[in-house]
Symmetry: C2
Subunit: 198 residues, 2 copies
């Protein structure tokens, strides 16, 4: 395809997408699933948290896997928006089979907090960061999770991030993006960088 053809094709596509967006008139809350092996799932979740805060909405964050380093998004939210409910799974999740029971208990405790937030009629946006791994590892019951998402407070939009998560979650979600890793800096020996990677 030559450049002109490409440009016309892109413009046409954009016009088509804009028309579909304009025609969409159904006001309802959403479930957004950001999955795949590439960089940008959690950061996208936090970008939506930022959007919602900008609109004066009420948001909450539950992180099912916490890294060892304190993340920038955590520091920012706690410093500038201390009123936001922000929970992290208590034990360092280890991917270590020997701690399976402890990990499962921690996941279930964290899920019970998420469930309360799912039923909170004052909330607009809830980020369930890295929830999918809890499903992949069977720390949480898939049907229970899907039911709680379905029966959430009607105005609450939920963002779920993490690889995998199963077809049930994918079917339930209104918007699903598969973030594919084409290249990652660490593969070239570049160290994880504050502000970008955590």
């Amino acid at each position: 395809m030559n450049e002109d053809k490409f440009n016309r094709s892109m413009a046409k596509q954009k016009t088509h997408v804009d028309a579909s967006i304009a025609a969409a008139s159904n006001e309802q809350s959403l479930i957004v699933l950001l999955t795949g092996d590439g960089k940008g799932k959690s950061t996208s979740g936090f970008g939506m948290v930022m959007r919602a805060l900008g609109h004066g909405q009420r948001v909450a964050v539950v992180q099912f896997i916490k890294g060892t380093q304190s993340s920038g998004e955590e520091v920012l939210l706690k410093q500038h928006f201390p009123e936001i409910p922000f929970f992290q799974m208590a034990t360092g999740f280890t991917w270590d089979n020997q701690n399976h029971a402890a990990d499962k208990a921690a996941a279930q405790h964290t899920w019970s907090i998420a469930c309360k937030l799912l039923g909170d009629p004052t909330l607009d946006v809830l980020l369930l960061d890295e929830l999918t791994y809890m499903l992949s590892f069977k720390f949480l019951d898939e049907q229970e999770v899907l039911q709680a998402l379905r029966e959430r407070s009607p105005k609450l939009s939920v963002i779920v991030t993490g690889r995998g998560g199963g077809t049930g979650l994918r079917e339930l979600a209104d918007t699903v993006s598969d973030v594919k890793n084409l290249k990652h800096a660490f593969e070239s020996g570049i160290k994880a960088r504050p502000g970008i990677d955590f």
Copy 2:
């Protein structure tokens, strides 16, 4: 693959990735490219802006395409972080061939601002939101853009978002994610939602 096998495979993969990340020791700034047709490119860029702000870093934002609605991220940054350089392309970009000359001039003016920020030695993170379209439409010279990115201030990490962008940008970037649309709410007639879509 059964569940156990899947779990072991995921844990192994995670261990491998963790080891690669731990072994990566090269401290250098990055170019991150978030491309593809799915939801989550700009939001991921703003999530990294949030991360960087949490670490007390200096950030700047240049948006090459501005929607008609005021976005949550714009309101949030202007209210809570008024010191952040935040620029938007002045004309509403229309994808309309009749305004080609005006769009091109606007793109080039916006790029001149981006160039100054690329050379600012005090900045840590610069988000060039939707820059790729300026390249696809030949509003900017690809080689000039690549050179400015290469010759940026050494400590500055740059995040570029948008569909396409060409192989030159993809090769230059250290981290590239292709955000694939598996499903989008507007395809089901659900209206764009504040806090999620803008």
